[in-house]
């Protein structure tokens, strides 16, 4: 580990979130679309699909994985600085996009991971890609409906005040704080793009595809589902139900972490992933 969790969190609180990750980006063309990619390390490819708030804060987690993998972390179409054609407006579209993306990069077999909204895309992608994903790591994924029609599985982030949202999202809400005054117009533009695309892709049905749960049986990759113990966006029970719907999936809870454990507890997440990949 280049940095430990405590130090990372201290730094995050000092600097605030920066919105644009501190990894040099490159641009990859996928069927005429310019896609922003943050890539590091070498070895077996590991594709990481980011949550709706982007890749900022994931540097420690991705950096540690890059010691043993070629870690490829793109900005989804419509997020970061990636293009999106008008017709893309569902997570299914994004999953099909990643089929094209893998073709464009010439990647055959790989490890797939995704967090939250990116976990939803990853799960959908995995149902379409048998025999090519060596391991699948879903971190508090969204995307399925578990409970009844009058229960919410996923907190309505569009109906929460910012302070409530941070409290639900993080074990320590200060981790997600950013100083809007210190941000450039570029950074604010990325925030506005993320929010707009999150709404476009996940407004209704809210943060899920009613059919995805019934398709999860198709996933043939070894699968680990990770949940933050303090997650109030999706409770650990939701992640457990997700794991139960994927054949043979393991489940692991990360202490003192909310909905984005790879940001709050990168060490513990890296350990969990390393143990799973080694096993």
């Amino acid at each position: 580990m280049q940095r430990n969790t405590a130090r990372f969190n201290r730094e995050a609180k000092d600097r605030g979130m920066q919105i644009i990750p501190s990894i040099p980006p490159r641009t990859q063309t996928v069927r005429d679309q310019a896609i922003e990619i943050f890539e590091q390390g070498s070895g077996e490819p590991l594709l990481f699909l980011h949550p709706a708030r982007g890749l900022d804060g994931c540097e420690a987690f991705l950096g540690a994985l890059a010691k043993s993998h070629r870690v490829i972390a793109p900005s989804h179409p419509g997020f970061g600085r990636s293009d999106a054609p008008y017709w893309m407006n569902t997570v299914e579209d994004l999953a099909y996009f990643y089929l094209d993306f893998l073709d464009a990069l010439g990647i055959d077999r790989f490890t797939l991971s995704g967090s939250s909204f990116g976990g939803w895309i990853a799960a959908s992608l995995a149902t379409k890609l048998q025999k090519r994903i060596s391991s699948l790591v879903l971190i508090d994924p969204l995307g399925i409906k578990v409970s009844g029609r009058e229960q919410r599985d996923i907190a309505d982030v569009f109906a929460m005040k910012r302070t409530d949202l941070m409290a639900a999202m993080f074990h320590d809400p200060k981790v997600g704080a950013f100083d809007m005054k210190a941000l450039s117009d570029d950074q604010l533009t990325i925030i506005a793009r993320h929010r707009k695309s999150e709404v476009l892709f996940a407004w209704s049905p809210y943060m899920h595809d009613p059919k995805l749960k019934s398709r999860l049986h198709r996933i043939d990759a070894r699968t680990l589902v990770i949940a933050g113990a303090s997650d109030d966006i999706t409770k650990p029970e939701y992640a457990k139900a997700y794991a139960a719907a994927i054949p043979g999936a393991q489940f692991r809870e990360i202490a003192e972490a909310g909905h984005l454990p790879m940001i709050e507890q990168p060490d513990a997440c890296v350990r969990a992933v390393a143990e799973f990949l080694a096993g």
Binding site: N89, F158, A159, M160, K161, M180, K181, L183, D185, L188, T189, I191, A192, R193, R195, K196, S197, E198, V199, L200, W203, S204
Partner: protein, 401 residues
């Protein structure tokens, strides 16, 4: 110049001074159906009075809110279509982007046009930012939905050769063949609202009426942007009948009485933005660049809601925004009939000719007696003079310069 009487049919009984939200989240236990019935009957009486006094009539709608009991402008207009005799009946508007079924909208609007024997004016609006959660319509592409529904409704109203199909980005129909077809051919006049220069373009290209609400001394640049596109598209300058401006108004026997009435009407302005914070501007509702500007303003501790006066001074709408300041900003016309006449003429000249003046003469808890007196004073002493003034003013902004 046509003058439309407008009320949002407020339910002020539920307006508490320190409310966190008067919309969307306020439980309907605060709504007494008996009080609501009395209010509906009263507001209908006032529209009927407007019809008798020579006003035209404007109705809008909002949802899940104590600020406006008109949850469907179609229902109020259906009643008015039968009980009024001469007034034009303007919906401004149907929040088209929030509607999931424009075929049903086309049918209901045609009914209103037919029942009123061709007195219907068909206004379409995007809908306020608070209401996508109510309709559960994606906030990200509302303007696209508005324009597709607009195209669909006009085709549904003007197609008389039997069923057609529609397979668009947002709406799908297999058998469109509405009965009744509208009285006015090919369809009732179309109005669309806009408040920014960019959104006037599509309205001008189609030659529809451009309506704008409470933007005061930003109106001229908006109207000029419409005029430029209209001239480029149609080869002539648009007349004043292509423009509508909405303001609040109070008329009294003395200045003080008129201003006091307008001050009660102005409680609309004071309360309309009181909504649970996360619903104020859902992501995607406004373009990315606009959101960046708003975030920057908030980060710098500035108000994102500033309006100019006639002399260009910027006033913060969110702080100590008195009736006098709102008058300086062109949002309120108030005083004696003569004062109100002069204020309106001054604003009309500034804007380059407004063919349709939309006046909220009832708002807040302004009583029926005060509302009726304000309306009557306007109808007797202001409206005839405005008609005469408008008949003699140049018909295009170009000629005015």
């Amino acid at each position: 110049m046509r003058v439309f009487h407008f009320s949002e049919e407020p339910y002020p009984n539920a307006w508490t001074p320190d409310a966190e939200s008067l919309r969307i989240t306020l439980p309907n236990s605060e709504c007494d159906p008996k009080t609501a019935a009395d209010l509906y009957h009263r507001y209908l009486d006032e529209w009927q009075l407007a019809d008798e006094l020579g006003f035209d009539i404007m109705v809008n709608e909002h949802h899940e809110t104590a600020t406006c009991l008109t949850a469907s402008c179609h229902i109020i207009l259906a009643i008015l279509a039968r009980i009024t005799k001469r007034a034009r009946l303007l919906a401004l508007g149907v929040p088209l982007a929030n509607r999931s079924d424009p075929q049903r909208v086309a049918e209901e609007l045609s009914m209103i046009d037919v029942i009123s024997r061709g007195r219907f004016e068909m206004g379409f609006v995007k809908g306020v930012p608070f209401e996508p959660p109510v309709a559960n319509i994606n906030p990200a592409r509302m303007m696209d939905r508005l324009w597709e529904a607009h195209d669909f409704i006009l085709k549904a109203m003007s197609t008389h050769t039997g069923p057609f199909n529609w397979e668009g980005d947002h709406y799908h129909y297999r058998n469109v063949n509405i009965w009744p077809r509208p009285w006015q051919q090919p369809h009732p006049p179309v109005w669309i609202t806009a408040s920014s220069i960019g959104s006037a373009k599509a309205i001008a290209e189609r030659g529809h009426v451009l309506a704008t609400f409470l933007i005061g001394y930003k109106t001229r640049e908006l109207f000029d942007s419409y005029r430029a596109v209209y001239q480029a598209t149609h080869g002539t300058m648009p007349g004043p009948d292509r423009f509508a401006y909405l303001a609040l108004a109070g008329v009294g026997n003395t200045s003080a009485e008129g201003i006091a009435r307008a001050t009660e009407v102005k409680r609309y302005l004071d309360t309309t933005g009181i909504v649970y914070e996360p619903f104020r501007s859902p992501p995607g509702y406004a373009p990315v660049a606009d959101n960046v500007r708003v975030m920057r303003a908030i980060a710098n501790g500035q108000s994102a809601r500033m309006v100019p006066t006639k002399t260009g001074e910027m006033i913060d709408v969110t702080k100590n925004f008195t009736t006098e300041k709102a008058m300086d900003a062109g949002l309120v016309f108030a005083g004696t009939p003569n004062e109100v006449y002069e204020q309106i003429v001054d604003f009309d000249q500034y804007a380059g000719g407004i063919g349709n003046l939309l006046l909220m003469l009832q708002g807040g808890a302004l009583s029926h007696e005060d509302t009726a007196d304000s309306m009557t004073l306007f109808a007797k002493h202001v409206l005839p003079r405005l008609k005469e003034y408008a008949a003699n003013r140049p018909q295009t902004a170009d000629a005015a310069e």
